[in-house]
Symmetry: C2
Subunit: 215 residues, 2 copies
DNA sequence: ACTCACTTGCTTGTCGACAGCAAGTATCTT
DNA sequence: AAGATACTTGCTGTCGACAAGCAAGTGAGT
């Protein structure tokens, strides 16, 4: 009976390859199932079996349901950061903020499933005793700090008015993205991402550019 | 043996009064427990017993855990709408949007527990099969429509530039409130609500008022 | 105003499903 | 071959849900 799952295709896998494969499979299965049933109604048994393993592997590997969701969260976040990096490059100021909105739109349209699941997980992190709350808080904090840096750089180049507080602008910007994604999640038809982002870009221009009244 | 829970205080209660009392008690208990443990780790047994009843009453009365959370969501929403009405009155345009931000700040500072729980419940509504998703979607949609009306009224009075789309501005505005509340929830120290709202008001002024360049 | 049939509020017994754990088996590694 | 590591299976306590039962409230007929 040499037809173990791995050896069917030929060469046997190393231990490292086996764990990498089962990790990937279970994270993918989790994404699929969260999309369909949400985080609460998705069971570890369903995840393990959909990935082609036993009901117990997910717990064994990730320690707990929250541990698995934390891994999924980090996995999708990495993908999103790739989009972000590719879109923004080393732009700064209003330009960077506009490019990030475009990157986000691209992420949502090209990988809507990942985007949805990421937002669902972020929402789960809002619960008082969520075990991956730190993960969400750190990601949001880092993104907010990056935006604040863009604003500061823009101010240094005199392309953003000097009397705005970078941290506050960044908070507002991140809040918009988080909020619009939530609205899209609970009522996809009610949100026109393209239009909302274009309007946001216009408003950023109007409220941040130094040419306007004041400053 | 006339010392039933109700008759201790004197007059016996009517059926309607009894349900009103137990409903209220259970909703209050749920708010308390959600604050402490989140929605998932709060049990119906704990809610019923904290309210002074049996483990089974919550299920019996609200049908399911989701049914109870739906009731809590609606209960807190009503309170928030009171704040909103009192703060905005019949203002319109940018003024109304500023007043709503002030009302929201007041709600968050005066009833932080309710505000937190409401946001936690909204987050729970993001899950694909959440049974109170409709409730959240409706509330957000209605608020967005109200804001759009303020914008239209402001445009009619020539106090808001005519070339912005009311629906889009409203979406952006609601997204900001939703997003900043989420950020506050997962990391309360990182959000200065007062400052963020003041900045938001300034940016609304800059991007919506017709005196600026263009239009 | 008393009572008896009926309704409604609430509790308790029970069940299937779940997350998590520990002990066991199969597969790699040296 | 023998140890290490990937994975499975047996088990337990707890959960939400349901249904049957109990107790308190209600109202029509006398």
């Amino acid at each position: 009976m040499s037809s173990t799952p791995e050896s069917i295709a030929g060469a046997p896998l190393t231990q490292a390859e086996r764990t990498a494969l089962s990790d990937r499979s279970m994270i993918d299965a989790a994404i699929e199932l969260i999309l369909e049933h949400g985080t609460e109604k998705t069971t570890l048994k369903a995840i393990g079996e959909k990935a082609g393993y036993s009901r117990g592997l997910a717990t064994y590997r990730f320690g707990s349901k929250a541990g698995l969701y934390d891994a999924v969260c980090k996995s999708i976040s990495r993908r999103w950061l790739d989009y972000l990096k590719a879109g923004v490059g080393d732009k700064t100021g209003i330009e960077a903020m506009g490019a990030a909105l475009d990157a986000f739109y691209k992420f949502v349209t090209e990988s809507p499933r990942e985007a949805r699941v990421l937002q669902i997980l972020y929402c789960g992190a809002a619960s008082p005793k969520s075990e991956y709350r730190e993960t969400s808080a750190n990601i949001h904090q880092k993104q907010q700090d990056d935006v604040a840096d863009w604003v500061r750089a823009g101010q240094a180049e005199r392309r953003i008015r000097g009397d705005v507080d970078p941290q506050s602008v960044a908070a507002q910007y991140i809040a918009y993205i988080s909020g619009i994604t939530y609205l899209w999640l609970i009522n996809p038809d009610a949100v026109d991402f393209r239009k909302a982002n274009d309007d946001m870009k216009l408003h950023l221009e109007l409220s941040l550019s130094p040419e306007a009244k004041g400053d």
